[in-house]
């Protein structure tokens, strides 16, 4: 376990100025604008290149059964399948369903974790878009509650 102090020493800020100094372009800059503007899970997956939706046991969605607060809900996607192009996390009942797209890469495991906002109790989807256009999905309902006084 790296201590905070060590991390600080290793963590060097090299940004900010780079923005104006011609930092190399992102590989996927704004490619999936339509997917992020889609309201439903289906439309978002389609816009991200998923042709046919198929439920799959080979895609794993990590998410809690219940979230104490919808502002921060941990969720992750992983799969051991070969031939994955993109990995998507989506929240069905959010105003815009798509949370994040991770591009599959030879250098990485297909295993990503992040945290998302959820407006209400909803199904969460993990979708692996394959090279052949298949969109393999797993889903789970996450209940969103509120622990405190609500004041």
């Amino acid at each position: 376990m790296q201590s905070r102090r060590e991390t600080l020493q290793h963590s060097v800020a090299v940004a900010g100025l780079l923005a104006s100094a011609g930092f190399p372009q992102f590989v996927h800059a704004a490619l999936n604008k339509n997917a992020f503007e889609a309201k439903s899970v289906q439309d978002a997956v389609k816009a991200a290149g998923g042709a046919s939706l198929i439920e799959s046991k080979d895609v794993t969605l990590t998410a809690p059964d219940i979230a104490e607060n919808g502002a921060v809900v941990p969720m992750g996607i992983s799969t051991g399948l070969p031939g994955v192009k993109h990995l998507l996390l989506l929240v069905e009942k959010n105003p815009l369903a798509l949370v994040a797209i991770f591009q599959s890469s030879e250098a990485l495991e297909n295993n990503f974790l992040t945290r998302a906002k959820m407006g209400q109790t909803s199904d969460v989807y993990a979708v692996a878009i394959m090279a052949d256009g298949k969109a393999l999905w797993a889903k789970k309902e996450v209940k969103v509650t509120l622990g405190g006084c609500g004041g």
Binding site: T145, L146, G147, C149, G150, G151
Partner: protein
């Protein structure tokens, strides 16, 4: 520079006050001195903000003063004082002008769910909530309930209220109204706010909450 010394100077004032107060007491301050110091610290520390006037803490009533004091020394109020407080609070209960105790339980449920109102970030114009679920179980379907107060699930059913308009139900109607209006009329140092007495809920809102508790159709009594 002049400004900069202000914070130190101002904050040292109370410190000085404490030192002066304690000068010459080798055994430390007495209970009365500590009570007086607490009052002064409260006056110097709190200020009016939004609708939350400073009098809410500097000018609390006899009920709160007596109960706070008893709490701080870890004792219950003596029976006589408790009785006197309960009687005074009972007298302050405003009974329904039109004789109607039971309102719409659906509106009562919304009031019970609502924990808002009367903080310094709230607007005076908004309707206040009753905060009921913060402390009580009520409708069994609501899993997010507090446990500071007893469960009120089946409140009316357990007390035999089958027809709220019957003469037999009258006493329970009055008790429930009175308890919601001013809980301290029945238990001097109850943790429960005095919803009607302190102006937290309007008469119409109290009626709806009583409906939620006693209406046989209410989910509380299912």
């Amino acid at each position: 520079m002049k400004k900069n010394t202000l914070y130190l100077a101002a904050s040292a004032t109370l410190g000085l006050m404490v030192s002066l107060l304690l000068a010459g007491c080798a055994s430390g301050p007495t209970v009365a001195e500590l009570d007086a110091l607490t009052d002064r610290i409260v006056k110097a520390s709190f200020r009016t903000q939004g609708i939350a006037n400073v009098e809410r803490v500097t000018a609390t009533d006899e009920t709160n003063r007596a109960c706070s004091e008893a709490d701080a020394i870890g004792k219950r109020l003596d029976e006589k004082t408790a009785k006197a407080i309960e009687e005074a609070n009972f007298k302050s209960i405003r009974w329904p002008a039109d004789g109607k105790f039971l309102g719409d339980w659906r509106q009562g449920e919304a009031i019970a769910q609502n924990g808002r109102g009367l903080t310094w970030t709230d607007d005076a114009k908004m309707a206040n909530g009753g905060n009921c679920y913060n402390c009580h179980q009520m409708d069994k379907k609501e899993i997010s309930y507090g446990t500071i107060g007893p469960s009120l699930y089946n409140f009316g059913k357990l007390r035999g209220v089958t027809d709220p308009n019957s003469p037999e139900a009258r006493a329970m109607l009055e008790y429930t109204w009175g308890k919601v209006w001013n809980a301290k009329a029945y238990n001097a140092c109850s943790n429960m706010p005095r919803a009607g007495h302190m102006g937290i809920l309007t008469e119409a809102q109290v009626r709806h909450v009583v409906g939620l508790l006693l209406d046989p159709q209410s989910p509380v009594n299912q």
